[in-house]
Amino acid sequence: MIKARGKIGFYLLLKSRFWVIFLFGALLFGIRWTKGAGYLDLYSILLKPILPGTAQREWIKEGENIERNIRLKLLEDDNSRLRRALSLKEFNSDQRISAAVISRSSRNWWQQLEINKGSKDGVLKGDTVIGPGGLIGLVDSTTPLTARVRLLTDPGHQIGAWIDRTKHHGILTGMGTNRPKLIFLNKNILVKTGDAVTTSPASTLLPPNLTIGIVQFVNEKALPSPYAIVQLTASPEAIDWVQILKNNGQ
């Protein structure tokens, strides 16, 4: 008798909508417990095909670039105003001439480039030549239609350089290899690997603050003066187009 009642009770439990209500309640509890994670995931999956993709990313990047360019322009203006106030040389980016490399000898005894712009275009001996990455070299000689560029890596080629972090001057000397040697003028240099090397902000021969390279090795104990080996940021072996800073960008 008792068994039969039990069976009847179980039957009623199944027959009535108890399980449906129970499962629904459990589902609601689950949603509450996970804070609607399943819903949100499902929503994101459904939304994926119509989400703005790479185009949106490009817009954002473009916006960022525009913002950066505006900031750079403001900083440049600010910089030139301060340089004028300090009576230092100014760097005019409008005085640039683009030229193609027509002949290259970047690993021989003489490390030079021939470019297709010469005195007819206003290129003068001693003008600065830059490429993607920074300073490449200086114009050594010109013809009416071409100019010969002496690379920074050419053995014996020397220019003044500056380490911005430590405010130390040095002479960058070409050794033939891709990494010129920066010979410092002081003893206590405190230069570290990774420091940026630029042209001196107070230079009278070269435009100020042009990127040259990164310090790769430092020998502080060298005699008569310490030196660093600099990895150039612009590689003349891979550059097909360069820019000449007319009158060194002044």
């Binding site: 002949s103 000898s105 021989n108 003489w110 002496r150 050419d154 050794m175 033939g176």
Partner: protein
Amino acid sequence: MANNNKNKLLILLIIISLQACTIISPNWLKINGISPCWPVILLLPFSLKNRPWKAAIASILLGIFIDAFTISDVSYIPSLFLLSLIWSVYGLHNKKIQLYLNIGLMAIFGTALVGLSIWVQKIILYNVLRNNWFHSWSIYVLISEVIITGLVAPFFSSWILFASNKN
């Protein structure tokens, strides 16, 4: 008359090819980014076929021409002058130098001498280059130049020598 014209044509071709090779410095003819020593390749057959004084004058003219395309004060002339005399004397005593290997070896010797001369001149002219960084780079350039010139010379120099013999 015809032979004379052919000779003139050959000289013109040599001058044009020298200018083209020096200015263009084709990438496919480079090893480790270093091109062959063109003055050696062109001076070698000329010196072997001519008297020492002629070869010496040619070497000076060639040196002046090549120096026009390079920067700094280092010159090709001293080494080319010496090579022209050596090769010319060697050519007078050995009338039939047409072996590719022979030409290649002479070009290797010549390139090594030219390279050494440039290396020494640079050290003399620039005190700052008296260090191991420059010396190790110079050895690298010297070896690469010697190899590529040794490979190229048997073709170019032998061809010029052969053509001038035919004339």
